[in-house]
Symmetry: D2
Subunit: 151 residues, 4 copies
Amino acid sequence: MTARYVAVVGPGEGAAPEDVALAREVGALLAERGAIVLTGGLGGVMAAAVDGAGSRGGLTVGLLPGSDRSGCAAAVTIPTGLGELRNGLLVRAADALIAVGGSWGTLSEIALAMRTGVPVVVVGDGWDVSGPTDAPARARNAAEAVRAALG
Amino acid sequence: MTARYVAVVGPGEGAAPEDVALAREVGALLAERGAIVLTGGLGGVMAAAVDGAGSRGGLTVGLLPGSDRSGCAAAVTIPTGLGELRNGLLVRAADALIAVGGSWGTLSEIALAMRTGVPVVVVGDGWDVSGPTDAPARARNAAEAVRAALG
Amino acid sequence: MTARYVAVVGPGEGAAPEDVALAREVGALLAERGAIVLTGGLGGVMAAAVDGAGSRGGLTVGLLPGSDRSGCAAAVTIPTGLGELRNGLLVRAADALIAVGGSWGTLSEIALAMRTGVPVVVVGDGWDVSGPTDAPARARNAAEAVRAALG
Amino acid sequence: MTARYVAVVGPGEGAAPEDVALAREVGALLAERGAIVLTGGLGGVMAAAVDGAGSRGGLTVGLLPGSDRSGCAAAVTIPTGLGELRNGLLVRAADALIAVGGSWGTLSEIALAMRTGVPVVVVGDGWDVSGPTDAPARARNAAEAVRAALG
């Protein structure tokens, strides 16, 4: 069986402490289920998801916006140099996306995933957004989010 | 003086007729003000903005998601082959963004613009989205949208 | 009939004066034939091709590696922010490619064009490169290059 | 100490058997040295490098041109959907590049690496290319290539 790739997205520096804690738990639970954790490679929610997954021996990947891999703790770091276009790359590489908390960058990832049919789960104080005909799934906690993402 | 580049974004095929009419008017008014109209190069709102700008002799650019330029009426067509990542390219190339109507792709463009500091104006039945600390400007009609975008 | 897009590629700052003169002539001849001139938007060969095409009223497009459009004289400027990945975008958007003079960046564009089936013409003191089974066309002067590119 | 990322590039399907054997050896030696092997994720030289590295327990990454990760044996697969633009992403993510055998795609990667200052080693029947002032290093066998790449 192939591993599942789950993107954990959310605010970087300045993320709320409860979102950081939630992201760490999401990362840990994903690793326990054998999923590979994809992130945007920066701090806050992203670093916490990497940290949580790493604490359970999970494989983690950071797709960085800049051209320098330093400072990212993921096991595999890809400095894309694409700036915000790496959000689209992250969504494309993901089998599912869990959004923890909200920022405009996070919203762009939710919207791109909804647009391209990548399942989205929103957990925490994130964007409460719904389109004319559909809306991302909502989870009340990390365990529910991971179940929704992995089935 | 350098020309201003304004991205007009919104749904493609399946766009509401009133959004299509609005986009045509936005395109025409932008051309009258000497702005270059950027679009995602597909149908609906995008084609209408190109059509409106062209009717006033304006310069138009289509940044297409696919690798084929056929079917796009913009004066300059760039088949990017980037799929949804061309949304980020469109935002990056824009000095301002006018969103007409809503779709998940449109929302991704609004969010990327808000994220990167490109001024956004929403007109028509678009997304009514606001972040924790800021929100895109709202216009009631095409003239107001163009004024908000060009100053 | 749709306009043909021809990419004129070659060294930027530091280009040899004879390559700059050749690029200007290539740009002018392309414009006379109604082709749209695509370039990488920087100086040297790129700026000369834009200048030559502009002198004949031709439409010119600059796909810049950076995120800032200032300093590029093309009629349409797209600041891609993709760095060297814009070379691939330039090749993708081109119906044919004329390489004037040589640099590693130019070689990457020749190779990507050969790889993806975009016709290539090399003129001036460029790379003399041939693959196991094929090689780019060679032209002795600007007129021959433009004929080879546009048929 | 951070792991070093070495891109192993070369022809996919249709690669010469001796290049495939060489790539497998290069991958194995890189893994023994603790390097992470990056490839373009397709067959031929790319698959052989992944196979070789995997046989020594090395970590491998495939940056695929398409949007589908199936068929790539790398431990981490990123379906970029960028087509040939993923060549630039591969070069950007690499601390060094080893080219085994030659194709136009390979040449584009060598050229982009030379352009952006990523050290290049050519081994096998690859491109024999040199610019006006510099040329990629040449290695006579896999061991020499890996030593040149990792120092």
